[in-house]
């Protein structure tokens, strides 16, 4: 059976999405994309230098890459909408990762504003992937607003602290029919594998790859972890037992009848 992730009508071969900030050079980005097999790459429009040769990050992305511009720097829905439109007009395609941060202290996304921006941009034909704090009602509203997937955070961005919001993400995976992509916080390949084993459709990683001593090797490790996680999810994880088998079963009497 073919196991493909489809977002906004695009068939994707990889469940690893890569971020492009924080790398020590733009040359590392295509190498990391190739080593990991990632197909979707997010770029902050604020960083894209369309005018200066050699400084335009988009020139470094391998052919076939799905560019997902993000609205980094947006403080509210209106700014996110403007950034998305500029991105599309600049030739970055119609995917958009909505990132609305009205809190620079912890860099947590503003769900309320994100729902607003999702509604407007989806109506304008964008393929909208909102980055959010994992909250079930907010996620449902993003679905209603026309999101193509939802992207809950695993931990505050840049912390590499792993799946701190695991319980909430499990609920989103169970309740939301759209692909759930864990974005932010994943610090190591084993955590990416865990997210995928849980049923997340994909993971987005930046800091853990870009700030590793060997980013390209780390990208490869993440690619393998995500593939392993998906195989484990499809294979069906064996249950784990919390307690040893009781010597005096509580329901033993049922068999004696």
């Amino acid at each position: 059976m073919e196991d493909q992730l489809i977002i906004g009508g695009t068939k994707l071969n990889s469940r690893l999405f890569l971020g492009t900030g924080k790398f020590a050079s733009y040359e590392q980005i295509p190498a990391a994309v190739a080593a990991s097999g990632a197909q979707v790459v997010t770029v902050a429009l604020r960083r894209v230098d369309f005018e200066t040769p050699g400084e335009n990050m988009l020139e470094y992305l391998p052919e076939g890459t799905v560019i997902m511009p993000n609205t980094s720097g947006a403080r509210n829905a209106a700014e996110a909408v403007r950034i998305a439109r500029i991105a599309r007009e600049s030739g970055c395609g119609n995917w958009i990762k909505i990132e609305v941060i009205s809190d620079q202290k912890y860099l947590l996304p503003d769900n309320q504003e994100t729902i607003e921006a999702t509604k407007i941009l989806a109506a304008e034909g964008f393929i909208v992937l909102p980055y959010m704090c994992p909250d079930l009602m907010a996620a449902k509203r993003m679905v209603e607003a026309g999101a193509a997937a939802i992207m809950p955070l695993g931990a505050p961005i840049g912390t590499n602290r792993g799946l701190k919001t695991e319980e909430l993400i499990k609920i989103l995976i169970a309740e939301i029919e759209l692909p759930v992509i864990v974005d932010a916080g994943i610090g190591r390949p084993s955590e990416a594998a865990t997210a995928i084993e849980l049923g997340a459709a994909a993971v987005l990683v930046n800091t853990a790859v870009a700030t590793a001593d060997q980013p390209v090797l780390m990208a490869e490790a993440f690619g393998e972890a995500v593939r392993a996680g998906r195989k484990a999810f499809l294979a069906g994880l064996g249950g784990t037992q919390t307690f040893a088998s009781a010597s005096s079963p509580l329901t033993g009497f049922l068999r004696s009848e």
Binding site: K22, Y26, L45, V48, E79, S102, Q104, K105, T207
Partner: protein, 371 residues
């Protein structure tokens, strides 16, 4: 509570007492995820100095994770050096007999063209305080021209009213740099004997007026060397935290400018050593992990190279503090202060790359069509 009232809670004498007698254990504070104000103060104390390496290791990782291997480059552009203030430590002091100059709009365009040749996209424009020469309308006219060349324009000018900030933001300004210079009020009054800048509280509340007007980034700092650096650094950190709490949408950054030689010859009363500057930077990074840290060409090339990994996120490059410094040979004119790092943009770019970092030229895209 206003920040002015908050500051009053921390009397200098009490701070000194705490700095010298705190029994807190530095090695327990350093790895904490969030620091209290007093823990931050402890990291600025003489007791923390032996732990600088441990602080540096933690500050390095925090900076790496939050900002990556990226350093944003910008340069200052001096529009005019007319000034009505009498800051005793500044080359632009009104009592300082010197030839003054204000760029014409044609000269602004020529400067912009010269600077943009270097690839820079982030610009910081400066003026002295003279509403007569450098009116808000003049600055706005300059910004309109500069928008054609740069994607981000910040201002380091005299304090404005909220509606004046709104006017400049509307014309394309997205960032504000304003240094309190000295947080210790009695020293502030001593160093600013006359002129509008003498109003301590008006200056203190400047970032708030700009934030209310919708500015996107704010960079604050104290001019180091004018008063005790430990307490000044503490007040700066408090100010940053206050602004972050009150205006969480602002991208906040900090500068730690040290006094440089200038025409006028004021000698700093409380010189700040390299080690002290490093301690301030590290304590600030641990206290405010996501705040930007700006290091200007006031510092030498060698020192800046070493600072790179300790939490710096933004550096100036190819700077001139002379009005018209990019378009003509100003051998007879002097700048606001002497530049220590004289390298070109290309040289600084190469030095950053050599250290395994990526110089960033563009980190903002204007949301409006300002033309």
């Amino acid at each position: 509570m206003s920040f002015y009232e908050l500051l009053k809670k921390y009397e200098p004498a009490e701070l000194q007492n705490y700095l010298n007698n705190s029994s807190s254990q530095i090695e327990k504070i350093i790895p904490k995820l969030t620091l209290t104000e007093l823990e931050f103060l402890t990291l600025l104390s003489p007791k923390a100095t032996p732990f600088l390496e441990l602080m540096a290791q933690n500050a390095y990782l925090l900076s790496l994770h939050h900002f990556g291997r990226n350093i944003l480059l910008y340069t200052p552009l001096y529009l005019a050096d007319y000034c009505v203030n009498q800051c005793v430590y500044c080359g632009f002091n009104t009592t300082n007999q010197r030839k003054r100059r204000q760029l014409t709009l044609e000269e602004v365009r020529a400067e912009a063209a010269a600077i943009s040749q270097t690839g820079l996209k982030h610009l910081l424009i400066l003026t002295g305080e003279s509403r007569k020469h450098s009116s808000v309308d003049y600055i706005r006219d300059c910004v309109k021209i500069l928008k054609e060349y740069f994607t981000s324009i910040s201002i380091e000018i005299y304090p404005l009213e909220t509606d004046e900030y709104a006017k400049l933001i509307e014309s394309g300004v997205d960032g504000l740099t304003i240094y309190q210079e000295v947080y210790h009020q009695p020293t502030y009054l001593e160093l600013h004997p006359a002129g509008p800048k003498r109003d301590y509280r008006y200056r203190l509340e400047t970032p708030e007026r700009a934030a209310q007007a919708g500015i996107r980034t704010i960079n604050i700092g104290a001019l180091l060397g004018l008063a005790d650096w430990r307490t000044e650094a503490f007040y700066t950190g408090l100010h940053a935290q206050y602004l972050l709490n009150k205006f969480p949408e602002i991208e906040l950054s900090l500068s730690f400018p040290r006094m440089r030689p200038h025409s006028g010859g004021y000698e700093p009363t409380s010189p700040v050593s390299d080690q002290a500057l490093v301690q301030i930077m590290l304590a600030m990074r641990l206290f405010l992990p996501r705040a930007g840290i700006t290091i200007s060409t006031r510092e030498s090339a060698t020192f800046r190279n070493h600072l790179l990994k300790l939490g710096v996120t933004k550096m100036s490059a190819g700077s001139s503090t002379v009005v018209g410094g990019h378009i003509d040979d100003n051998s007879e004119n002097t700048g606001q202060f002497e530049i220590a790092d004289q390298r070109s943009v290309a040289e600084i770019q190469a030095a950053i790359i050599k250290q395994g970092y990526k110089p960033i030229f563009k980190d903002w895209h204007p949301l409006e069509d300002f033309s």
